[in-house]
């Protein structure tokens, strides 16, 4: 496991490279985390996912978006348009770091949405874990969790979200993607707003979409502050199967 900073010198991102346990690999997996409190709660699951992927012989990179985790930037500096660029930067970094030819992007919640919208070239598969497919539905969810949804800046489960931030979330539209990956896999553990429309839109573009429903703990929202260690092992196993 190799912790390091990468990317632009003035805005470096924190990353953890987990090398393939079986030697040289042609496949690299980039894990795109969710945002805010969800990222903290899901951290352990994504770390174990990386370990399991590397054990199966792929190169793995996890990273923090700008203004989140250990990456540079204040919490108010991070926003979806910046994070989209971060996904592209991290993808390129993984290619250079591990000299991989095949790239798989795995994203949890907003990380899944960003993995698709980043339109990373030569991505062979995108795996979405309970992604945000309907931005209006997501804004409504954030509004329910906001301390004062009437305020200009929302505080949502420990993290501030400006009007600009929310505007960028609201404008995220998966229908605008020009470069679609050839293969999309979705694992869901709850009813997912926008799933049917998304599947139809992708199939119209001849993109293969496979969806699997696994009833499992929603680790990104686990409400017990002392129970953050729970890991949905079945979901991780399915993602590893799809990515390797």
């Amino acid at each position: 496991m190799k912790p390091h900073f990468f990317g632009h010198a003035s805005r470096p991102l924190f990353g953890i490279h987990t090398p393939s346990a079986t030697g040289l690999s042609q496949t690299g997996v980039l894990i795109c985390p969710p945002m805010g409190q969800e990222a903290l709660r899901a951290y352990r699951s994504l770390r174990l996912l990386a370990d399991q992927l590397a054990a199966e012989g792929v190169e793995v990179l996890r990273f923090d978006y700008f203004g989140t985790g250990d990456s540079a930037g204040d919490v108010r500096d991070g926003r979806p348009s910046v994070w989209l660029e971060n996904v592209r930067t991290a993808s390129q970094h993984l290619r250079e770091l591990a000299a991989v030819r095949r790239l798989v992007l795995v994203g949890l919640r907003l990380g899944g949405t960003l993995a698709l919208l980043a339109e990373v070239p030569a991505t062979s598969r995108v795996i979405l874990w309970d992604p945000i497919l309907d931005s209006r539905d997501f804004i409504a969810e954030l509004s329910r969790d906001a301390v004062d949804p009437g305020a200009e800046e929302w505080e949502v489960r420990g993290f501030p979200m400006s009007e600009t931030f929310r505007g960028e979330i609201a404008s995220m539209d998966l229908g605008t993607i020009r470069r679609t990956p050839p293969d999309i896999r979705i694992v869901i553990s709850q009813e997912l707003a926008g799933l049917v429309a998304f599947q139809a839109a992708m199939e119209a573009r001849r993109v293969r979409v496979e969806t699997d429903r696994i009833d499992a703990l929603r680790v990104w929202i686990a409400d017990d502050a002392f129970g953050l260690g729970a890991v949905p092992a079945v979901v991780l196993r399915r993602i590893v199967e799809w990515a390797t």
């Binding site: 496991m1 190799k2 470096p12 985790g69 540079a72």
Partner: protein
């Protein structure tokens, strides 16, 4: 490959420790001082990784780095990105974590950081107190919502307002009240115990929690040594702490007020999830640090 670099400080991601099993981020101020000010080790709390609850460790580390102080935020064994060390089966979890903290402090010393301070929230605070009590190279500690003892006034504050509500008495008379059952339970439960038995705590198991006497001895030794302590209590753990000077009242026979500072943030939850308490916490720690360890204090 870059590090986080502002004009005032830079950050490096590192793997370190006796088994190279720990992961942390070292923040170093850009300016080299004639006398190196103390650096702070932020100890991960519970299962939350090194950025801290709601990223407060990152916020605090960078605020201190801009003022010239180094820090290391890191994950204990098996938490966040840290792995288990080779000696994981040889010792208890508590001892393992103390060895991890020693590894972190050794790293800071190798990096040229001067005196050392430890800081943490909840179990991170408990670990910090254990470290400063046994390691004389550590000269200060910031303890956020640490293990603490209840006092008589705690119970008055907790049950008093309920006893004044007519509805509470009606519920008691009709057998619907949980407050009265709780009060009776807590009174009864105190009789078989010695006065030194610690009252329930969520971050320390009963087997590892210090007794009141042990806790007091620890504090007395720190006072004798001239160690500087900052206790921060939030309103998030009302079942543990519910008025400003509860800590001082719990140890009336020692001169804790003269050596320890105390901040009570009743409007904050346990993890500082609101922005206003985060700002208050940052300002309080910076003031405490400047008072006792800043350039003026060092001179």
């Amino acid at each position: 490959m870059g590090n986080v670099t502002e004009e005032a400080f830079s950050e490096r991601a590192m793997a370190f420790g006796r088994s190279q099993h720990l992961v942390g981020v070292l923040s170093m101020p850009a300016a080299v001082a004639a006398v190196s000010p103390p650096g702070i080790a932020f100890i991960s709390s519970g299962i939350i990784h090194r950025v801290g609850a709601n990223r407060i460790y990152v916020r605090l580390a960078r605020a201190l780095a801009r003022r010239g102080s180094a820090s290391l935020r890191f994950d204990l064994s098996g938490i966040g990105d840290s792995s288990q060390p080779d000696d994981q089966l040889e010792v208890s979890r508590a001892e393992l974590e103390q060895r991890d903290i020693d590894d972190a402090l050794s790293l800071m010393q190798r990096e040229g950081v001067g005196p050392l301070i430890v800081a943490g929230l909840c179990s991170g605070a408990d670990n910090s107190l254990a470290t400063i009590a046994r390691n004389e190279h550590v000269s200060g500690a910031v303890l956020m919502d640490p293990f603490v003892f209840r006092t008589r006034r705690y119970y008055v504050e907790h049950y008093g307002p309920r006893l004044l509500r007519p509805a509470a008495w009606w519920n008691a008379l009709t057998g619907q009240s949980t407050a009265f059952k709780d009060l009776a339970g807590s009174v009864v439960s105190r009789f078989p115990r010695s006065r030194s038995t610690p009252v329930g705590d969520s971050s320390l198991s009963a087997s590892t929690a210090p007794s009141r006497e042990e806790f007091q001895e620890r504090l007395e030794a720190l006072i004798e040594r001239g160690a500087r302590l900052l206790f921060v209590f939030t309103g998030g753990l009302e079942e543990r702490y519910n008025y400003r000077n509860q800590l001082f009242d719990a140890f009336p026979r020692i001169a804790l007020r003269a050596h320890a500072e105390l901040e009570y943030l009743p409007d904050s939850d346990h993890t500082f999830s609101r922005q206003a308490p985060q700002r208050q916490l940052e300002a309080r720690i910076v003031t405490w640090y400047d008072t006792h360890f800043g350039t003026a204090a060092v001179r």
